[in-house]
């Protein structure tokens, strides 16, 4: 283990022997009359990045402020002799100004970690009867195996962080086809645009705007650096919702069931939030959502003929923890995302 990693372990709290984690947790709460332990789920974060310890502890702390859970931090370091270490700590929040409500965090560093080791350690330390939510950070590596995902109830991924999205989407699709896979999948790259999409949907809240959809010719999506996949997800969403087929061409071309051709262009613009702007255009209308209203809001502009209407709507949260917290509050389904994946994979080819 590197000295840098060893230094970062201090944030994980009290180191305990692996076999004594439960006993140590009981002692932690047994001596404390003031604090209340709360848990609605098991929330595991899996990472293979040695630098993730500190940011992931902070992320768990942020998530537990809204979602009481048993947090499990898993750092798997492939290579070397198998060796596991464990730590316990708690994240406490004041409620009503006086009551301290705490979520416990168990952290594991698994050197030479095989999937068997990861799975056995996670299984042994789940809060019973509560769902397992897993945030799998980074690529879907060899450790993403059936024995692990078969116990998950919810899986968070971030396809924007994948080095090879075509490969990882294939792995994901393969996992979802397994009869033992009962998890719902949530892609942060998709969730980050929830309110952006909501804003676009609200542009079509009347019959006049809806009529323009039949004549749609251009979709322009502007994304920030490194977030082309977020742009492609939006393009796939529009394609699926309009029941389009993806037509082979130099760029992205969608064809509606009525034969209307829609040209989709993606462009990159600077840093910041993944999606910067979407504009849908027909000969007579332009409907757009943009980041021109500051950090907390998006602007929608609907221009149909001479009528123009502008509105401010809330923007998506910025941090990953906030995006996950929002999703945990919404408990929404995943069906649309799964419907989009085939078209997205077509675009990635």
């Amino acid at each position: 283990m590197s000295a840098t990693l060893e230094d970062s372990l201090a944030i994980l709290g009290q180191e305990v022997p692996l076999g004594l984690v439960d006993k140590a947790l009981k002692e932690l709460w047994g001596h404390d009359e003031v604090r209340t332990r709360a848990s609605l789920m098991n929330f595991a974060i899996y990472s293979e990045d040695p630098a993730s310890i500190t940011p992931n502890t902070r992320l768990l702390e942020e998530i537990t402020s809204e979602h009481a859970c048993r947090g499990l931090l898993l750092l798997a370091l492939p290579g070397g002799e198998p060796h596991a270490r464990a730590w316990i700590t708690a994240h406490c929040q004041l409620h009503d100004g006086h009551k301290s409500v705490c979520s416990e965090q168990i952290s594991f560093v698994l050197e030479g970690g095989t999937m068997n080791q990861v799975r056995n350690i996670v299984f042994a330390h789940l809060d019973s009867d509560l769902p397992l939510v897993c945030w799998w950070q980074g690529d879907l590596s060899a450790n993403f195996s059936e024995r692990f995902y078969s116990v998950m109830d919810m899986l968070f991924i971030d396809s924007s962080s994948w080095k090879n999205p075509a490969h990882d989407f294939a792995v994901l699709a393969g996992a979802l086809e397994q009869s033992t896979a009962r998890f719902r999948v949530y892609d942060l790259s998709w969730l980050r645009s929830h309110l952006f999409r909501t804003a676009l949907a609200s542009c079509f809240s009347n019959a006049t705007a809806l009529e323009e959809l039949r004549h749609l010719q251009f979709v322009e999506i502007t994304h920030s650096k490194g977030h082309r996949l977020a742009g492609l997800l939006i393009a796939a969403w529009i394609g699926v919702r309009l029941k389009c087929k993806l037509e082979a061409s130099d760029g992205i071309k969608l064809v509606t069931p009525e034969g209307q051709s829609i040209s989709v262009t993606l462009s990159e613009s600077g840093e910041g939030e993944a999606l910067q702007r979407i504009e849908l255009r027909s000969a007579n209308a332009s409907l757009s959502v943009s980041r021109d209203c500051g950090a907390a809001y998006v602007c929608t502009t609907v221009q149909i003929g001479d009528h123009r209407h502008d509105q401010m709507l809330p923007a998506d949260p910025v941090t990953d923890a906030a995006v996950i917290s929002e999703q945990l509050s919404r408990l929404g389904g995943q069906s649309l995302y799964l419907q989009m994946v085939p078209m997205l994979r077509g675009m990635l080819r």
């Binding site: 009481a68 409620h95 009528h307 401010m312 509050s329």
Partner: protein, 512 residues
Amino acid sequence: MSELENPFQETLIQRHRADSCTVVIFGATGDLTHRKLIPALYNLAAGGDLPQQFKVVGFARREKTDDEFRAELEESNKKNSRQGHDATLWASFSQNIDYHRSEFQDLAGYQSLKLLLEEFDKERGVPANRLFYLASAPEFFDQIMLMLRQSGLNEGVGGKWARVVCEKPFGKDLATARHLNEVVNATFHEKDTYRIDHYLGKETAQNIMVLRFANLMFEPNWNSRYIDHVQITCAENLGMEGGRGAYYDTAGALRDMVQNHLFQLLSLVAMEPPTDLSADSVRDEKVKVIRALRRYQGVDEVAKNIVRAQYIAGSVDGVERVGYRQEDRVNPKSMTECYVALRLFVNTWRWQGVPFYMRVGKQLPKKATEISVHFKYPPQAPFPTTLQRGTRNVLVIRIQPDEGISLRMLSKLPGVQLLLQPVKMDFRYSTSFGKASPEAYERLLLDAMAGDATLFARRDEVENAWSFIDEIEHAWHNDGPQPPMNEYPAGSWGPKEADDLLAADGRVWRRL
């Protein structure tokens, strides 16, 4: 693609989507508009839940400009908004607020309102729906309805809807409620009439049906075989502050709280499972509960089952309080109750013989609204302490504050002896879900715009409730002998007679 289908809407989470509309608030300069309605609409805007091209028109009698009106609303929003106040969002939100000055009985004012709404529709390019919110004093309801009808504002334009939201009190007895219903229904269809009871917008009130019908473990025990009795308490630690005595002295606890809020809670606790969650299915079951209430006729029956009282001087939270009759704007000889305790029976198969005790009062030791379901003792009692006080299973649904649910059960005390001790399992919204719940008015306004009347009272609910209440009021205020008006010191848990009501049945009020 269907002409009316928004293909992108499907991606949204399951929540009510409101159609584009203009909300007209009558009584727009009043307290309700400033403290509740505008902050609720602002918070809906902050959450992205308001429809595109949404407009608000404040209708009131005072002379003021749009800008003055917006400035006043901004000040109150800063104080009352649940999610704080963002100047940028307010600037965007408030540009859609207009002020319309008119007397409530002035037809010309409504005609000019109509022109204003038509002007908005021109700006939008399409006609919008219209929601009329009656936040004015109830004595103006008749006039407002008449004028809306005469001006044609009660009819939707271009296939759009026109709805009305009525604030409480919806009548002061059966006759006035029926009259109001007739006036309202002469102007709007019943399906477009939304009688608001903000208790139904509270998270915990909505959770009662979930608790009962989504958890198999409770419903099989939810009947006279297993439940000994139910208590519903609504305690307030305030009196007649802020000049509230003027209204309250004409109403009293029975009319002000029991007829609406407490009967709604009773209905949710005692109703049969609805066949589906449509507004009428739910309300069909709720109204059956009110219809099945055992009636109390005559002074003796009322006196035996219902206790009324007024507070006398005392102290709450260490602060000295005057008696009710000494309160500002209260008649010194008032015979209006500010505390009432009732023993009710729901005459259905499920609830035969199970008393529902209710109590509501002012100047009690603390603010708390809750429902407690007290289960019977086990049929066989092998343990020495099972028949002692405090050993029944009790399921408590806390409506406010500290919203949540707790369950009291018995557990063996650790040790060599077989001793039992009551323990409590506690679920608290604030602990389990870090996110604050929306205000009741946010949910209810959104529902009214989206056309979901589930959380609003239907005409028959209101009239059946008044029919029951009227019989008690008649017994209390008849010319002959009347049930006594009891007294309790401010800061106590009510009169001794209320304790006696339960003691006569071998029961006690739950300690809050």
